[in-house]
Amino acid sequence: MSHAKSLRPSATFSQQVLDEIHRAADQGIYEIRGFGAKRSLPTFDDLVFLGASMSRYPLEGYREKCATDIVLGTRYARRPIKLKIPITIAGMSFGALGANAKEALGRAATAMGTSTTTGDGGMTEEERQSSKTLVYQVLPSRYGLNPDDVRRADALEIVVGQGAKPGGGGMLLGHKITERVAEMRDLPRDIDQRSACRHPDWTGPDDLAIKIQELREITDWEIPIYIKIGATRVSYDVALAVKSGADVIVVDGMQGGTAATQDVFIEHVGIPTLPAVRMAVEALQELGMHRQVQLIVSGGIRSGADAAKALALGADAVSIGSAAMVALGCNRNIFVEDYEALGTAPGYCHHCHTGRCPVGITTQDAELEERLQPEQGARWLRNYLTTMVLEIQTLARACGKTHVLNLEPEDLTALTIEAAAMAKVPLAGTNWIPGNNK
């Protein structure tokens, strides 16, 4: 009897790599897609909490208080932002998302006592009306930027970069540049729009300090000013952001999502959120500004566990983008034939850039948008945020904390050497932190 020879795959030229080279040979352009980094990366899964023991008291799960409220922008603003929970909704553009999705985000955030953030498309009426606390982004593109919206914002966020593409500008392909989107962005319809990657009127941190002054002058010093950076040289960037005068710093790790970016950018630029948090906190501590300039961390935050670990490492809050989309229905196992028409399937879809989102989130198509009703979307997101908060409180109480911001690095241990080195938390069962030359 003869045996068929078993097929032997190449680890270097895997099926995925072969498919990509064939695609590049056919199309002559880099792959553009949505979602965040899909490759395996060190995450918060590699850290665990040390719950109460003989040396630590836990708090009762239901009776004893574990507060979750935070204040952002205490450094200079006359009206800092008070949030009921330490989870905010990250910036996502109208254009990338449809109006229903933006409204759903606003409603849920308002119900939970937290904030949403505009994106590269500017401020829509839907979001301003539905979101009680709205952070207005000032991006390199400056699409739609105007002083009326600046003044009716609750905070401003100067975007230097985002985790999915630090050093890259926004991108919205022609089929999503509808009449309304084009008008808001002062662009012709149907073109492949690329936002600038550098701000038009400031270059380095010294100029940025003056730009922040200008925004404070225009808003009469009332509202906080955030700076958002994609996680790369986090230590330097956070120090420079503090020195430029930021009230709040947002650090977005490489797992951060996007609606349309080159795959090569998403997968190969930036550092994971895990080391980024620790580097940002250290930079703040070195300047004596930890908790005075607040730190919001984003980039692949998926659960209350992730959020609690980020807080334990020293963040004041986390921000969710991709996870909020998933709560609204992204990759849900419905309308399967529409996923298939895009060449994908529920659980694998990253086709936000096509504008044909099967669940009506990242689309400008009226028929598809009907699939996401703002009220239902808001209910889903509210449930998810509630779950996250309960999870954070569960973990905080287990560590004996009466406020979630009292979580600390000593409450954590690492399961891998990489996580121990990145988070500067000892490897479980040891006192060893790789890289600490003691």
Partner: protein, 223 residues
Amino acid sequence: MAAFDLNSDSVRTLNQHLHDSPSGTLSVTNPGGRHCIACGIDAPVEVSIDGHVGYYCAGMNKQAQVTIAGNAGPGVAENIMSGSVRVKGNASQSAGASGRGGALIIEGDASARCGISMKGVDIVVAGSVGHMSAFMAQKGRLVICGDAGDFLGDSIYEAIIYVRGNVGELGADCIKKEMTADHVQGLKQLLASTGVAANVDEFRRYGSARKLYNFNIDHADDY
């Protein structure tokens, strides 16, 4: 007429006044190159600044007529919405950046990136402009009575550039275009309304070749 002397009054006090109770005319003396003077105005006031200003003078201006009797630092009239800003001297880089309406008039020269990212403002420069002017310019008109530096109109969208003097190397996707009767008429009106004297027949028009609007691998060299 209200008057502010920035040797004794703060920029904050001046700006708060301009936001709270602006009316009629207002003079600002001794600006001393300070930053953020007269930014965020939203009222039909006339502001005369006697001297040089720093960064972002008249930033996000709405309705006001601001005159700077001196030079202006980077970002003068950035994101202007309406009204006018006139610089009697020279302007530093990124003059009129992302401006969305109104008019910016520079009687001297402007520097690099004049009109960068403009979104509807009219900018008239009696002198010359530096490199990368009208970079990613989306809408509006940039009129240059003198010369333009290299990479003029790089990645331009639908903004229109008129140049009377010499042009260095043109930026990606920016080409010379025909001056129609409508363009001539419009330019004449703009020069008249901004008080800049120049013969319209000496101008050439530049704008987008529109080859970068949708990706095409046959134009890959342009990326």
